[in-house]
Structure formats: structure tokens, C-alpha cells
């Protein structure tokens, strides 16, 4: 492996502007993680207009910082207040809060910070090794492979989203339909534009992401669902003792591996990784009853895994151009805005961007480790800023920010419409993630499908006879049919008398 681009990537990160935006990214990320309500996808969506004026590398370094910084921040409120700022920190509440009740909040936060650092770093090293190999493999992909890959990606994300499967698939179909609005790239004919000139070039990604994730969340939270915040635990003895470190070293090692693997899979990611790592530690423990009562491994495992997964979920995006989760879909959009198409050629065509972003994660993780503990007090104080004050400010930033996309008031109207849709979706049990993901993959999927059909002269069985697309479609069939088979088996078992 030629290490020159890797080393040059460090040169890119260490440029003062990039370092500054890496710092801004991780601090904003930690803040987002601390404040329940807006998640990383929403924040990155709201901040998209800021990135227009930045260099692509700088922009993505900042957005990536927000994403993995949020994993750190989510821990703080889970441990101190029993309020998981992020879904990926929900499981940390079990033992983190129990430790805080025993006066060991500092230990929990210290272990979480160390675990997160180790998990993140292991994952970056693995990413550096694996990503170029995957990208090299994917260079041979043609339209049929991309059709199968995009279909599988959308299906997997819809399958593991927190809502009902059918609803997630409905959201994905709506996303695919929205992606067809505008001029057909093959024939130039206008589709679903209703003679509106602002729709002639299609719907921009920014109002969709800002509306569904940003405004949608804010409107949803308007329904007086704020929880009472209790007085936070005091933090002392932040550095874990040697015995704590010894007790959690295995959990940190396993958490790194689990997080890395689950993060790579489309639809996987930080939340599932944290749950899986916690479950495995509990199953392996000699005294599983300690879990939930303040076991340090119960904090170390999920916190390590969620950071490892957050990092490795960049692999499918940067090597295949397939976002693995909603936040990656937003980063995918940010890259497209910058004129960079993520995919197998990214490593070769934009090595500065690829290695700059990957290496910024090393620096970002060190910054987080250094800052997360001393800044705990500050973050707890920030929790006192009322949501009632933050919400309208965020709304205004969104409305004015989206205007900058095309200096068009129509975009403000669009973001409001998607905000209303985002609210309705959350209210009615539809996750907005699959919609956004399907929207960003929509044109790739349609183009690949049409090209494939032309290549196969209309014979759709051509997809099955090519080894890679055939395998991917077989995986698609398994993922699609497995829940139906499982449901049928459960029904039969329920009918069989015990």
C-alpha cells in the first residue's frame, strides 16, 4: 500500500483552517449530543448552508466531527441525568446512571471517553486499511451492480429503522418519487414539475434534509414533550482507577470490533452497535446481575462500539457511494453540493479529501478525549438553556439558511412544507431517515436500472446472471423474506400447544 497519500492527508488536516473546523465540528457535535432533541442528522442538515463557502475537505471534516462528536456528547447526559442525548447512548443509561448514583459519575465518563477514543481510533485504522480495498473492488461495478447495491442499501436501512417496516418502505418510496421530480436525465422531459420553474431542476437536497430532520424535529418537540431535567450528579475522580481499566479492557476491545463491523453494514450504525456490544458483555459476564447496577463494562462496551460504528459507517459512503444511515445520507448530500461524487473513484480522484477526512478523525478523537472531561461542567450548564429559547432561533437560522441554497424564496416555502411533512411522519410513526436516504440514492438507482435494462436488452434476468449483482439481489431477497418467514414460524409456534 502506497502510504504517500495517507501522510499527505495528515498535511491536509494540520492546515490551520481544517484544524479549526475540526475543532468547531467536534464541539458542536458534543453540544448536539448533550442537548436532547436535535440529533446529528438534523444539525448537519441545518448547518449545510454554512458549508457552501468552505473547501470540500474543510466542510466534510467539520460535518464528520459533528457526527462522531455527538456520540461523545450523548454519553454525558446519559450518565449524569439519565437522559440519553442520542439514541446510541440509550443503553449507556443502565450502568452509567447507576454509577453516577454511587458517586462514580466521573469514572463512568472517564471510561466512556477512553472507550470512545479507543473504539474510534481502532475503527479509523481499520477504515484506512479496508476502504481502499473495497473501493478497488467496486471499481469493476457496472450499472447492474449499482442497481442491486442501492436497492439492498435502501431495504436494509428500512428494515432496521426504529419504526414499522412497511412504513419505512413507504417513506423510502416517497423519497424515490421525490427524486424523480425535475428534468429526466435521459430524455430531458419535465417530470412532476407542475409547470413550476423552481422545480425544473428537481428538488434540492438541502430543503428536504433541513425540513424533515430540522424543522420536523422542532415542530414535533413543540407538543410539550419536554422532560423535567433533574439536578445533575457531581463529577469527581474523572480518571478511572487501574482496576476499572482492567475490568473494561476486554469490553473496549470487543466493542471496537463489534462497532466497526456493524457500522459498515448499511442500516447498521452506532445505535445497533451499542446495543449489541452491551448484550454481548452481559452474556459473557461471570455475574451478569451486576449489569444495570453500575458495571463499568456496561458503559465501556456500548460507548466504544458506538464510536467505532460512527467512524466505520463512512466506509460504504466513501468507497461505494452508498450511505449506511440517515446522517451519512446528509453528508452524501453535502459532498454532492461540493461537486464531489462519493464512490469508488473518490480515493484516486480526491485523495486529499479522502485521506484528509479520514485522518481528521484521528485528530478529532484526540480533541474529544482532551476536551470531553474538562468541559463536562460547561455542557451540564448548557442543558439549562431552555428549549423554548433555542427552538425559534434554530427555526430562523433554518429559514434564512435555506434561502442561501439558490437565493430563492421558494426554497423557504419548500423547507416549511418538508418541516410539516417531517412532523406528520414522526407523529404517525414514519421515520424520515429512509426517505432522505432513498432520495439521495434515487437518481443513481434509476439511472443504473435504465442503463442495465438497455444493456440487457430488456431481459431483467441479466441481473441474476452477473455474479456480484446476483449475489446482492439474493441478499436482498433474504433480507426481504426473512421477517415474513420468522413471522410465519412464530404464528405456527403460537398455534402449537406447549
Amino acid at each position: 500500500m502506497d502510504l504517500t497519500p495517507v501522510v499527505e492527508g495528515f498535511g491536509v488536516v494540520l492546515e490551520p483552517t481544517n484544524l479549526l473546523f475540526c475543532l468547531i465540528g467536534v464541539v458542536v457535535g458534543m453540544l448536539v449530543g448533550v442537548l436532547p432533541g436535535l440529533g446529528p442528522a438534523a444539525t448537519i442538515a441545518i448547518l449545510l448552508p454554512i458549508t457552501f463557502g468552505l473547501e470540500p475537505v474543510t466542510a466534510i471534516i467539520m460535518l464528520a466531527g459533528i457526527f462522531y462528536g455527538a456520540q461523545y456528547g450523548g454519553t454525558i447526559t446519559s450518565v449524569l441525568l439519565r437522559l440519553p442525548g442520542e439514541a446510541s447512548s440509550v443503553v449507556t443509561v443502565f450502568d452509567g446512571y447507576a454509577l453516577a448514583r454511587q458517586g462514580r459519575a466521573g469514572t463512568a465518563l472517564g471510561i466512556a471517553a477512553i472507550g470512545s477514543f479507543v473504539g474510534g481510533t481502532v475503527s479509523i485504522v481499520a477504515l484506512s486499511l479496508v476502504a481502499p480495498v473495497v473501493a478497488g473492488f467496486a471499481l469493476d461495478f457496472g450499472p447492474p451492480e449499482y442497481t442491486a447495491l442501492a436497492l439492498l442499501g435502501i431495504l436494509l436501512v428500512a428494515t432496521v429503522s426504529s419504526g414499522h417496516r412497511v412504513k419505512a418502505l413507504v417513506a423510502a418510496c416517497v423519497g424515490l418519487l421525490l427524486a424523480t421530480v425535475g428534468r429526466d436525465s435521459f430524455t430531458g422531459a419535465a417530470r412532476f414539475t407542475f409547470d413550476n420553474l423552481s422545480l425544473a431542476d428537481g428538488i434540492d437536497f438541502v430543503p428536504i434534509a433541513m425540513g424533515l430532520f430540522g424543522l420536523g424535529e422542532i415542530l414535533y418537540n413543540l407538543e410539550e414533550r419536554h422532560r423535567r431535567v433533574q439536578a445533575p450528579a457531581r463529577v469527581a475522580d474523572v480518571w478511572p482507577s487501574r482496576s476499572d481499566l482492567r475490568a473494561s479492557s476486554g469490553a473496549i476491545g470487543r466493542g471496537s470490533a463489534i462497532g466497526f463491523v456493524l457500522g459498515v453494514l448499511p442500516g447498521g450504525g452506532a445505535t445497533i452497535a451499542s446495543l449489541a456490544a452491551y448484550g454481548i458483555e452481559k452474556r459473557r459476564a461471570k455475574r451478569p446481575e451486576r449489569f444495570g447496577q453500575g458495571a463499568v463494562e456496561g458503559v465501556a462496551a456500548p460507548e466504544t462500539a458506538n464510536n467505532a460504528a460512527a467512524t466505520s459507517s463512512f466506509i460504504p459512503l466513501l468507497t461505494l457511494g452508498i450511505p449506511a444511515n440517515a446522517t451519512m445520507a446528509v453528508i452524501f448530500g453535502a459532498l454532492l453540493i461540493q461537486g464531489v461524487t462519493p464512490g469508488p473513484r473518490l480515493v484516486d480522484e480526491h485523495p486529499d479529501l479522502f485521506w484528509g477526512v479520514v485522518n481528521s478523525m484521528y485528530i478529532g478523537n484526540i480533541l474529544l478525549l482532551i476536551m470531553s472531561i474538562p468541559l463536562v461542567g460547561l455542557f451540564v450548564r448548557i442543558l439549562r438553556v431552555r428549549a423554548t429559547i433555542l427552538a425559534p432561533i434554530t427555526v430562523l437560522i433554518t429559514l434564512i439558511g435555506v434561502y442561501t441554497v439558490g437565493n430563492d424564496v421558494f426554497d423557504i416555502a419548500l423547507v416549511i412544507a418538508f418541516g410539516a411533512l417531517g412532523y406528520l411522519m414522526k407523529k404517525l410513526g414514519f421515520e424520515p431517515g429512509p426517505l432522505v436516504l432513498a432520495f439521495v440514492l434515487g437518481s443513481l438507482l434509476e439511472d443504473s436500472l435504465r442503463r442495465s435494462l438497455i444493456i440487457f436488452e430488456g431481459d431483467a434476468t441479466g441481473f441474476l446472471t452477473r455474479p456480484i449483482s446476483g449475489t446482492l439481489l439474493a441478499a436482498f431477497a433474504v433480507v426481504a423474506l426473512l421477517p415474513l418467514v420468522r413471522a410465519a414460524l412464530t404464528r405456527r409456534r403460537a398455534r402449537t400447544p406447549m
Binding site: R101, L176, L222, V395
Partner: protein, 168 residues
């Protein structure tokens, strides 16, 4: 550290969130949602056919939207069959009126921003959200609204020179 400062942790940490969730919606909501999905699918299907469905050998402008809308109609019918069983939709309550009010302020903003600039509608939006939706005291609401709009003006118009319609 005294024990009383901490309430007992719930068996399931998500319980704290569920406590404040509105009650679940009934099967009528499920049916309405399912019919809306079917309706959207049918509308898209009709639109796709009008664009030209093409054929597998020569896919047309409407081929892909047609396939997606057929899937959408199928999923909508699936939702209809699942009515009353998904149990993840929330009922619309009086608190939902806050959302309508919030949306109304945004629609007001976009309706007048081209004519009178963003300063006045932005201040009014802040004021409504702070005073009426957030029940902040008048003083806090007025001071925060004005301060926020001044900061936004300085950042977006002064520093970033974004051509958003403005009065001053």
C-alpha cells in the same frame, strides 16, 4: 452525595421518554394514513403513465416512477391491512395546536419576506414562539427576539452578504 437527589432508574431507560408521549392513535388514523399513501401512489401512477411507461427494452421517462408508484400502492394496501396493529402513531391532541401555530408563523414569514424583508417577520416569529408557545416572560421574549434578529442580521447580511430580502 445524597441518595434522594436521584429518582430510581427505570427498568427501561426509554420509559422516561414514553411518559410524556401523547396517547396512541386509533385504527381510524391508521386507515386514513393508509388511504393517503394509496392515494399518493395512484396519483403518481397516473402521472407516470402520462409521462410514457416505456418498455423493459426501451425504458421511458415514466418507467421508474411507474414502478415506484406501483410499490407505493402495494405498501399502502399493506398498511390498510395492518390498520390497528402497528400502534406507533400518536393521537393529535390540544398540544398539536402549538404545531399549527408554529407552522403559521413560518408561513407568515415566507409570505411577506419578499415584500418587507426578514427583520420584522423574524422578530414577530421569535416573539410568538417565545411568549405564546414557550410561555417565556414578556421581558425575556422581547429582549431575546430583538437580540436574535440583530445577531442574524449582522451575520447573514453584514458578514456573509447573503442577498436575503431585508429592510435596512
Amino acid at each position: 452525595m445524597s441518595e434522594q437527589r436521584f429518582p430510581d432508574p427505570p427498568a427501561d431507560p426509554q420509559e422516561a421518554e414514553r411518559e410524556v408521549r401523547p396517547p396512541l392513535a386509533g385504527p381510524v388514523t391508521d386507515v386514513v394514513v393508509a388511504l393517503a399513501v394509496v392515494g399518493l401512489g395512484v396519483a403518481a401512477l397516473v402521472g407516470s403513465l402520462a409521462l410514457g411507461a416505456g418498455s423493459p427494452r426501451t425504458p421511458g421517462t415514466g418507467t421508474w416512477p411507474l414502478l415506484v408508484s406501483i410499490a407505493l400502492v402495494g405498501l399502502g394496501l399493506g398498511l390498510l391491512a395492518l390498520s390497528g396493529r402497528t400502534r406507533d402513531a400518536e393521537r393529535f391532541t390540544r398540544a398539536s395546536l402549538h404545531v399549527l401555530a408554529g407552522l403559521a408563523t413560518m408561513i407568515g414569514f415566507v409570505a411577506v419576506v419578499r415584500v418587507i424583508g426578514f427583520e420584522i417577520p423574524a422578530t414577530l416569529l421569535m416573539l410568538v414562539w417565545l411568549r405564546f408557545l414557550g410561555r417565556e416572560p414578556w421581558r425575556t421574549s422581547i429582549v431575546t427576539s430583538l437580540a436574535a434578529v440583530v445577531v442574524l442580521y449582522v451575520v447573514f447580511v453584514g458578514l456573509l452578504a447573503i442577498p436575503i430580502p431585508h429592510m435596512f
